[in-house]
């Protein structure tokens, strides 16, 4: 699984961090998403998919 972020779109909602805290974090200054792990292990994949689906800014893209 490969994850790409469009930080320009991110509206700092923090939903991704709630769902997959091992993979996503937010910058302290402005809350913009930060990727902690761009190729997370298999047990994280469901959470990452859920985060991408729920992100209200469609800022998280996943390649298979």
């Amino acid at each position: 699984m490969k994850i790409t972020l469009d930080t320009d779109k991110c509206c700092a909602a923090g939903q991704c961090v709630l769902i997959a805290p091992e993979v996503f974090d937010q910058r302290d200054e402005d809350g913009i998403v930060v990727l902690l792990d761009d190729a997370p292990p298999a047990e994280q994949h469901d959470a990452v998919r859920e985060a991408a689906a729920i992100c209200p800014a469609a800022a998280i893209e996943i390649q298979a």
Binding site: A13, G31, P56
Partner: protein
């Protein structure tokens, strides 16, 4: 008419699931149906000609001119393709017979042509998810006036943006809710003269209360937005149509509400107290109406949105999601409807899962767990100038509010909202993300007011 009629699909042809409304909620529903194992026909119907796009940037990056429309697409065609959707854009649903789960679609339009279960523009479905959102409210007489705009769709936003492309115009924004405030911030950034008129004395008062509203008012004033309290009584107009023989005269008319529009181009806004506000452009940001007029089946309750149960079901096999849905929030114990981006996605997903669970119960062969009540922690954000406001839970309709301004100049504040002794919502401006997430945890489920207040003080170091 019936399944035995001439030309009807063979009995074994599976009926489709149809999702009406091809925006945030509808797309989330369609994707969830696929991810949860629905491999039967899936129809996504939207009356706009555009691929599903995101609305929040319309009043922000798009209006400002920082983004072009393609940045708003929720999915590229490459991302949509694997869903195997029967995508019908530019197609309006005009009716639903709830008992037979049959949709009526406007005849003669629709791309690609109707295929599955087609019977003269009607579509018999296994299940239907309604995600038709809301439409912008307008004022009588405004529709035909040049210079008067609403802001709900991409086309609306592009039209307004074209008029705001060069600075120095006089823009009157009617309505000081979230949309009016965001548009005011963008228009100021583009160098226009902006007057923000609302019934409430401070912006967004109904949503965030008087104190946060006061903080917003300070920010807008500091940016030279003129704030007015008042009720709009009518428009002042001229005939802007220049013909070969000079200006054409329009047919004046007076509506039931006393709105007078003789000309065809707006030149000002008149308030009930007699104030005249000259305007080159007017934005009506006076709220919206759920898009339920097409749902005339008397078995459906469409007073302020399509009424659903805790599972987002409006009737057997009929679900709703997003701005249009009014459902029984199991935690808050009353019917609620949200016009928040986050809710559109979450509810689209929930409605899709629950519909599949119901269909599995009806004997359709799909793996589906039990239906689950939809009980989200509501969330919304708004961007105005450098201010980012974020709120969790219920902030509107509070009978008690407590606002702590942590730093007036830096516009850092936190506010707690409650009802009947229980804390129901929290709002933050200018707080670091870790603290914002801690605030969410405080009101994820309703907490006694005093306890929530203490926990908020601890979380923000303001105690």
């Amino acid at each position: 008419m019936s399944e035995h009629g001439m030309g009807a699909p063979p009995a074994e042809a599976p009926r489709p699931i149809a999702v009406v409304g091809a925006s945030a909620a509808g797309l989330a529903a369609a994707e969830t149906l696929r991810r949860s194992g629905w491999d039967g026909p899936l129809v996504l119907i939207g009356d706009e000609p555009h691929l599903p796009y995101d609305r929040p940037p319309l009043s922000k990056q798009l209006l400002l001119g920082a983004w072009e429309p393609d940045r708003l697409l929720l999915r590229t065609t490459d991302q949509l393709d694997p869903l195997g959707l029967d995508l019908r854009l530019g197609t309006r649903a005009t009716g639903l017979d709830a008992a037979t789960r049959t949709l009526t679609l406007v005849d003669g339009v629709g791309i690609p042509p109707l295929e599955q279960g087609r019977e003269r523009g009607s579509l018999a479905c296994a299940g239907v998810i309604i995600a038709t959102g809301v439409t912008a409210r307008t004022l009588p007489g405004a529709e035909h006036l040049a210079g008067v705009h609403t802001l709900r769709t991409l086309d609306d936003a592009l039209a307004l943006r074209a008029r705001l492309a060069d600075g120095g115009r006089r823009l009157v924004i009617v309505g000081n809710g979230v949309l009016g405030c965001e548009a005011a911030a963008v228009a100021r950034g583009l160098g226009h003269e902006v007057t923000l008129v609302g019934r409430a004395t401070v912006p967004m008062a109904g949503t965030v209360g008087a104190e946060i509203g006061g903080l917003l008012a300070e920010e807008h004033r500091a940016r030279s937005v003129r704030l007015r309290t008042g009720v709009v009584d009518g428009f002042e107009t001229v005939n802007g149509f220049e013909t070969g023989n000079g200006f054409e005269t329009g047919n004046g008319f007076k509506t039931a509400n006393g709105f007078e529009t003789a000309g065809d181009r707006v030149t000002g806004v008149r308030l009930a107290d007699g104030t005249r506000l000259p305007a080159d452009l007017v934005l009506l940001a006076i709220g919206s109406e759920p898009a339920v007029r097409w749902l005339t089946d008397p078995s459906l309750d469409t007073v302020d949105g399509l009424r659903c149960d805790a599972y987002c079901a409006a009737a057997p096999g009929i679900y709703a999601a997003g701005d249009v849905a009014r459902w029984d929030h199991p935690v808050h114990g009353r019917p609620l409807r949200f016009e928040h981006r986050m809710n559109a996605t979450e509810q689209g997903m929930a409605a899709a899962r629950n519909l599949l669970a119901e269909l599995a119960g009806e004997g359709i062969d799909i793996p589906a767990p039990d239906r689950r009540p939809f009980a989200p922690v509501p969330y919304f954000w708004s961007d105005q100038y450098d201010i980012k406001m974020q709120a969790y839970g219920l902030t509107a309709g509070a009978d008690r509010t407590e606002t702590t301004v942590l730093d007036r100049d830096a516009r850092r504040a936190v506010a707690l909202y409650g009802r009947d002794g229980t804390a129901t919502g929290v709002l933050a401006i200018g707080l670091p993300p870790r603290q914002v997430r801690a605030l969410r945890a405080v009101i994820a489920t309703p907490v006694p007011w005093e306890e929530a207040r203490d926990r908020i003080r601890t979380a923000t170091g303001s105690g």
